[in-house]
């Protein structure tokens, strides 16, 4: 499906892009969309295999975009879990939980049933918090 309009890239801050890549690709099963460098700057985005129109950016705070104090503040925000919530939809929350847990993903919440949905929570290595939600049949995505 091709769309000319809509959200293309949304990024999260990570403290270590190699570690983030290993996590999002090696564990969550995302694919690399773009990985280019220009000096210390690295534009790195990944995609969910079922969502080719959307890229998740894995960006590191630092030069040349941020001064050191700003970069430090951003790294602290991520490490404290203060960044906005992220939601990953899955078809089988308990199955995904078991698989990812065995891969060493740090879960903050085991799967819980809520009104027909099943949700669990995990963090990426940097501290970004994800909710993993299996919607009830017929649920609105």
């Amino acid at each position: 499906m091709t769309k000319n309009q809509g959200i293309g890239v949304v990024g999260v801050y990570v403290d270590d892009q190699d570690e983030a890549l290993a996590f999002y690709v090696g564990k969550l099963g995302f694919q690399v969309h773009t990985d280019v460098r220009n000096g210390p700057y690295r534009w790195l985005t990944v995609q969910h295999p079922d969502q080719p129109g959307f890229q998740l950016g894995l960006f590191r705070p630092g030069p040349p975009i941020h001064d050191e104090a700003t970069a430090q503040a951003l790294r602290a925000m991520v490490a404290k879990g203060a960044m906005p919530p992220l939601v990953l939809h899955v078809s089988d929350c308990r199955g995904a939980y078991a698989r990812l847990r065995d891969l060493g993903v740090e879960f903050t919440q085991e799967p819980v049933d809520r009104y027909g949905n099943v949700d669990a929570g995990f963090r990426d290595p940097a501290g970004n918090g994800w909710k993993m939600i299996q919607l009830a049949a017929g649920g609105v995505q």
Binding site: Q72, A76, K80, V87, N117, R123
Partner: protein, 190 residues
Amino acid sequence: MPTDRRYAVPTMPVVPPKPPANGHTADPIAPQDPALLRRLLRAKDRMDAASHEAWPVQRLAEVSGVSDAHFARSFRQAFGIPPHRYLLTRRIEQAATLLRDTDLPITEIAFATGWESLGTFGRTFRDITGQSPSAVRLLAQAQARLEPLDKVPACVLKAAQRPDLTTAVSEKRRRQPAGTKPTSATTKEI
């Protein structure tokens, strides 16, 4: 939801503030190392996941891989609230959710969310929210009928309805008449 009474309110040891080392006063606004913050977050996550359990500072410090005294100080600097008070907000938040979403008796909710007695639960609940558990239940259920919130992920909704314990407790303390013994649950700090 466990109702096991082994999960009682922990008795948190009081950790006195550490005096500065000879000739060196720690900079109170020195930025904290992100690697330390990430480990402190892990302890906070563990309290979030099981706020009904006892979380003595030793257990939390172990999760973060730091000394007991360092943990309490660092946690407070990172999250603006001492760890035990943070735990109380999570218990009250959990209780408020159960009051809103279930018809469980209030006694059962008190034990399920980690309180050792109904009296302590009720007092702390009123201290923090300004209302009794039964009043909050009636209000929340009336509101739920008016504003469907089912489009907001449940965890996010819970966090948004989290009581602001820092303000509530200090307000309460300011208003505490002289000579009145404050309730233990609201004054335990580390």
